[in-house]
Subunit: 457 residues, 2 copies
């Protein structure tokens, strides 16, 4: 019996080699070529995942995990063929533990599905990368987003994992206790490993109390430097910002074109404050003082829940709004991110603007600037190879600048296919020790091959 026959026997109609199913998981939102798996498997239990892995390990068939396909560096693409292991049917919330403020979920549960379920409990899951990604995928790529400045990234919010390893063995890492000093931190080794060390089949996640009071607002600055200076002062002053997002003047123009917002085309900060009522009022007052000193104008508070939702919908609609800056059939937006120590943020943003300008690229900057993390959205025409090359050269210049400024080539999008070329520059000798982990955990190299670890030169 071949491996595929065995999987067909195991999963029945939940194992398929039809072109339609393979194409569905071959797509990506970035600039990577489509990559067709040879088959797609839809397991429903950890034991099925373990059996798939045992079968594939025996036959040397690659296995590429698939959540919602929203990763931005091609992490979910089966570039070496084999099985696309689609977690969409492992989408059950297994327990909500109010008293301990955690939940246990299967990896295919999406963040919006979870928050829907939590609504009545007074708890919420804050991590918000924009897309309605699966929680397994978010853990595997160490996702974060607008609220990480206050609540941390997936790194800080995964308490425990169950994972299936390359040989089909099932392990549990961590516990529901808030801390532990018992042995190696395999949880954090798996978080961010992009499915190359093991496949996450269950997550215990920290929840947070829905804040008693919330305030949201926007304000604008003459220059990005002024806005960034305001951010630095805010973080240093210890205001526990829930969100502090930079939107540059080009992005505002996109919003105006796309959503008719009529905002002054200047750099803006989008802000949110969480806490007890008096604490929030105090945070807002302190922020406004700092912001005024940094030259802020046009303070606009979102007074109602509806206005607040509208504010963040606008921010999360950045991708279509970037499209409005340079419409045209077939054109796409390349999205990249870097993260630097906050003191170097203004420099990094200046590099991005200059490198885009020098290449004649249309580039917006939006960012989780409280963490020193920002995104560049650059328009390109995939049919124009020279333009794509210019975009990739831009991305390379930005990555190099991030390293020169003491930062990292990616704050949240991950390595996947696109950023392997910077792994040596970022990690130096440490890359050899990452390779040792990979070899120890997946000696055959069947787990998401072609991702994260660059080929040896």
């Amino acid at each position: 019996m071949t491996a595929f026959e065995a999987l067909d026997h195991l999963l029945g109609s939940r194992f398929t080699t039809t072109l339609a199913a393979r194409q569905q998981n071959a797509h990506n939102e970035a600039h990577y070529d489509e990559a067709l798996p040879d088959a797609v498997a839809f397991p429903e239990t950890t034991e099925e995942v373990a059996q798939i892995l045992r079968t594939c390990a025996e036959a040397g068939v690659p296995v590429t995990p698939f959540g919602t396909g929203t990763s931005l560096e091609g992490q979910h693409l089966a570039v070496n063929g084999g099985v696309s292991l689609d977690f969409s049917r492992m989408n059950r919330i297994l327990s909500v533990n109010d008293a301990d403020m955690n939940v246990v979920v299967q990896p295919g549960v999406t963040r919006k599905q979870l928050n829907e379920e939590l609504r009545a409990t007074g708890l919420f899951f804050p991590i918000d990368p924009g897309a309605d990604a699966s929680l397994g995928g978010m853990a595997a790529t160490r996702a974060s987003g607008t609220t990480a400045v206050r609540y941390g990234t997936m790194r800080e919010n995964v308490l425990a994992l169950e994972a299936v390893m390359a040989d089909g063995s099932v392990i549990r890492t961590g516990t529901a206790a808030k801390k532990s000093s018992a042995g190696y931190d395999l949880t954090h080794l798996l978080v961010g490993s992009e499915g190359t060390l093991g496949l996450i089949t269950e997550l215990t996640l920290k929840m947070h109390g829905q804040p008693e009071a919330v305030a949201a607002a926007t304000c604008r600055f003459e220059t990005v430097e002024d806005a960034v200076d305001c951010v630095i002062l805010t973080i240093q002053s210890g205001i526990p910002m829930a969100r502090i997002e930079l939107v540059d003047e080009m992005m505002v123009r996109g919003f105006n074109l796309h959503a008719g917002t009529g905002m002054p085309e200047k750099p803006h900060l989008f802000l949110e404050f969480h806490g007890a009522p008096q604490a929030v009022a105090e945070q807002v007052a302190t922020f406004r003082e700092l912001a005024a000193d940094a030259g802020a104008e046009g303070w606009q508070e979102a007074a109602t829940t509806e206005e607040r939702t509208a504010l963040w919908s606008l921010r999360h609609g950045a991708l279509p709004a970037i499209g409005a800056l340079d419409p045209g059939a077939g054109k796409r937006t390349y999205s990249t991110d870097v993260c630097v120590p906050i003191s170097r943020l203004a420099e990094a943003v200046a590099v991005a603007k200059e490198e885009a300008r020098a290449r004649g690229l249309i580039c917006t900057i939006v960012g989780h600037v409280g963490d020193g993390n920002f995104h560049c959205g650059v328009r390109f025409d995939p049919a124009d190879r020279a333009q794509l090359d210019a975009v990739l050269a831009f991305s390379g210049a930005l990555a190099e600048a991030a390293l020169r400024l003491g930062g990292t080539v990616t704050g949240e999008h991950g390595i996947g296919l696109g950023k392997q070329k910077y792994m040596d520059a970022e990690h130096g000798a440490a890359l050899d020790w990452m390779r040792r982990v990979k070899t120890a955990f997946d000696p055959q190299g069947i787990l998401n091959p072609g991702k994260l670890i660059p080929p040896e030169s």
Copy 2:
């Protein structure tokens, strides 16, 4: 040339085989037998550490890192002989980066030394395990303490590391950026690895702003269960406690005997609130309401900085105060810790009390209860083997209970020598994957042999 001749040549008087020096690093605060290294090395630079490792790797000589010798599970004891690598001369603060709220330090810097240096900056390093431990040792054991409920443990506060690996290669993990999705998280793999995977030679640590306002107080409850209920309510309500420490009635008796405090011998909570002035006032008011509902009495606020210092000095003086409960030449205190999901905390504390009572042991309970973590301090006479056996059986029963309640056998003391026997029960199949990491990183087994990973049965 033998390895020791080579090290003597390299380090001169900073390499010694004298009995006095060896004995100094053979001591421990717990119940473990003294363990003499064959030699002690005092490197001053990373390059010297690398040369020591290269020399020892070639000769197969064990290397055991030594910070201040305050670990509680024998992590620093050279149980297989070889070289005790003493970091006390690598104690320089390399940079204080106010704008980025981080510092770069050598591993021998102690937490008090760091906070002394930071005093003028408005920043502080919150992690406070009680002892004035070295920061390298604190990272290696994933230390935490009274403020972890607010500021996290070493896991959350180490941004980047430099480490020397078993073959003498020097790696850097992480960057000064606040987050990254670039590759495997070797930083968190090294944090908590107790010197068995690599030796930390430099740390980049997160700093926090000194709070604008601080309030501290104590209150008491009729029963430990009432106190714990109050803690659970407090955490669930989202009050961002800076410290919330349980002190049981036996511990209070110890304080009264040792320090003449004259406190009612009931379970107490010791509390601290940090924030902006109105936020702190609001936190205190909200806490007092919750506490009153849970039956709190005797609210005592520490009004001045001096009173606050006295309050925490009392708490940190637990060890000598336990001694006052059962004085006698040669008697010692065995200290163990477990951590459970907070909803199971009252049960875990009840098990501890019952298991101690059943064995006729004098046992105090103090704990970082906001995290579900607590310590038992048990008196014993090392000359009385039966009593030590009873203490160890008590510790085993407590560890088993922690696992049964969904927790971990150690929240902050670590595995070292004493808790290896629970690694299989806590980690199951995951322990094999920890062994894979160890074998991949230290194939000869020269890094802190005999610690953390139990021998294969």
